[in-house]
């Protein structure tokens, strides 16, 4: 495991070493080692309570790891604030949509796009993002008045508009229609051409649509990591996760 400094390779985009999150007596994430390369697409699966969302919160600074270290490129982000991590280029769509309900769709995207950018550049990003996600028609609507599926898309739009390098998507297909799920899968593949993406998802057909490499979480630990077909046919994975769903 240990590499001597002379042969030390370029740091991966994201690296967690022994990342641990304890809440009182409960260990939600237990000594997780996780590496993500540049422009990689990774799916995280696992039963409810496996620690996937907690792990996302540690990566984005919403929670500070009880032990272990997390690096984004060369920067140690273990104890960084959410806004500092966001500025490094990490965007996240959270499990429960976090959007600005009282603002219009366009204003949501505008606020996300506008940090440290000129007004002209911001407006260009806003229009581009709205067109890309086909939100132009509802651009003046208040986000709070929209349906759940639409609000998911608006949150994805705000994440894209901030132009991050790493995009974390926590259950992006939840509560979407079949058609919306397919659009989301296509979008994720498109984003992945230029961005690294980590997707947490429960929907197996959706995982099969997008996944190359899959990491399975169980009880706060990584159970198995590997190629999508290998992982999904692994008996242990079936036991902890797929078996449960079939039952």
């Amino acid at each position: 495991m240990s590499v001597s400094p002379a042969t030390k390779p370029v740091r991966p985009l994201l690296e967690a070493k022994g990342a641990t999150m304890r809440f009182g007596g409960v260990t939600a994430v237990n000594a997780v080692d996780f590496v993500l390369g540049e422009v990689e697409l990774r799916c995280l699966i696992g039963p409810n309570g496996a620690g996937k969302s907690t792990f996302f919160k540690m990566l984005t600074g919403q929670l500070t790891a009880s032990a272990g270290r997390i690096h984004f490129r060369d920067t140690d982000i273990t104890a960084a604030h959410p806004h500092e991590i966001a500025r490094l280029g990490v965007g996240i769509k959270t499990q429960v949509p976090n959007v600005f309900n009282g603002l219009s769709v366009r204003e949501n995207v505008f606020v996300a796009a506008g940090r440290k950018k000129s007004l002209a550049r911001t407006r260009a990003i806003v229009e581009e993002t709205l067109t890309r996600l086909k939100l132009t028609e509802i651009a003046t609507r208040l986000v709070g008045q929209l349906a759940h599926g639409q609000r998911q898309w608006i949150e994805i739009a705000t994440v894209l508009a901030q132009e991050p390098e790493l995009i974390l998507l926590d259950e992006p297909a939840a509560g979407m229609t079949k058609e919306e799920v397919e659009r989301t899968a296509a979008l994720i593949r498109e984003i992945n051409r230029t961005h690294a993406v980590i997707v947490v998802e429960h929907d197996m057909p959706f995982i099969r649509m997008i996944a190359k490499t899959v990491t399975v979480f169980n009880q706060g630990r990584i159970l198995i990591e590997g190629d999508v077909d290998t992982v999904l046919s692994d008996t242990r994975v079936r036991d902890v996760y797929l078996g449960k769903q079939a039952a």
Partner: protein, 363 residues
């Protein structure tokens, strides 16, 4: 080559129209009132204006910043006392006016730093601000006796500071303003502060402040530091409250610890609630309306005026929790849509004016 229509125009236009209308009516009142009212009426209006400015500071930080500052009187009082102490020492009112803005701002910066960077939750921010205003009230109350003086100015404890020199023309201490001049200064600064807040809210800073009110987590996750934005908004609001305190001291030529009192903090919350939280016009109208009602109620002996005020608050919270301005605006919008709908039927190619306003409903 035709220029493509700016997508933001639909939003910007009604906003700038309403802005111009507001500033115009402000100017009409500013220059019209001295012709219509006698000196007594003008002085009364000046008092309303000071309270309207105070309400504006509360409306901004609470309605747009989402910060429950329930001790806004602390900044009103600090502004008033800063002006009084300053002008008694310096004679010329130019610097004291800036002190009245700067002292509360710095105080809010210090207090806000500990609150926002200390991750105090919203409810406790309400408690802390309220407590701080009460502490200041008690503190200033105990300053009776000639040993409590700042330079020439005796703080005077419960009795306060009497005979505060009025504003003078900048740099010309001998040329003090008469009541009409004070009116121009008060109403003029209210118009300027209103314009200033509108500009802030239209700016990127203001949008982020509102976005943080809407969802702090999301704002953080796209890279904004909510603590900083809240702190700055809190300081701006304190500065405005301080200016209101300066006007208040000028209005009566006198200031006492009651400006720090619970009544002041509670009153301004009522102003904002009655007028409309999340608007700028609302707090102004709420302040004027309630002040006027208080005076009217004081002139009669049927019911206790505080009881009446309480009844008004309860009525509003129960029946029109959004406040007067949002309700009136929705009514006008609905009326406009209905009218334009009728016109549309007569002239099918006309634009629908109601739709363009959709994005502006909140302002």
């Amino acid at each position: 080559m035709t220029r493509p229509p700016s997508p933001l125009r639909a939003l910007v236009r009604p906003a700038s129209l309403s802005f111009l209308a507001m500033v115009a009516s402000g100017l009409v009142i500013l220059f019209g009132a001295p012709h219509v009212l006698d000196t007594f009426g003008l002085v009364q209006m000046t008092g309303f204006t000071a309270m309207a400015m105070f309400a504006l500071s509360q409306g901004f930080i609470w309605g747009y910043g989402g910060v429950m500052s329930f001790g806004q009187a602390a900044f009103l009082g600090l502004g008033g006392y800063a002006y009084a102490v300053g002008v008694l020492n310096m004679g010329d009112s130019t610097v004291p006016v800036f002190l009245a803005i700067a002292v509360p701002m710095l105080f809010a910066g210090l207090l806000g730093y500990f609150m926002f960077y200390g991750r105090i939750s919203d409810a406790y921010i309400g408690v802390i601000t309220l407590t701080v205003s009460v502490i200041l009230f008690q503190l200033v109350n105990t300053t009776s006796g000639s040993q409590y003086r700042i330079g020439e100015a005796e703080l005077g404890g419960f009795n306060g500071i009497p005979a505060i020199p009025a504003l003078n023309l900048p740099g010309d201490a001998g040329n003090q303003l008469d009541p009409e001049g004070i009116w121009y200064a008060a109403m003029g600064s209210l118009v300027v502060v209103y314009m200033f807040l509108r500009a802030i809210l239209a700016s990127r800073f203001g949008r982020v402040v509102v976005a943080i009110r809407e969802n702090e987590t999301r704002a953080q996750l796209i890279g904004y530091d909510p603590r900083l934005y809240k702190l700055l908004a809190f300081m701006i609001s304190a500065g405005i409250a301080g200016l209101a305190g300066c006007l208040f001291a000028n209005w009566g030529g006198f200031i006492s610890p009651t400006v720090f009192g619970l009544t002041m903090s509670a009153q301004v919350i009522i102003f904002v609630l009655v007028g409309g939280l999340g608007t700028l016009l609302g707090p102004i109208l709420g302040a004027v309306l309630i002040q006027w009602l208080t005076i009217e109620a004081g002139a009669q002996n049927v019911i206790d005026s505080n009881l009446g005020l309480g009844a008004i608050l309860v009525t509003f919270v129960l029946l029109i929790p959004q406040g007067l301005v949002p309700v009136a605006r929705n009514l006008v919008l609905r009326l406009g849509t209905a009218l334009s709908g009728r016109r549309m039927r007569a002239k099918p190619l006309g634009p629908a004016p109601g739709t363009a306003l959709a994005g502006e409903v909140r302002r």
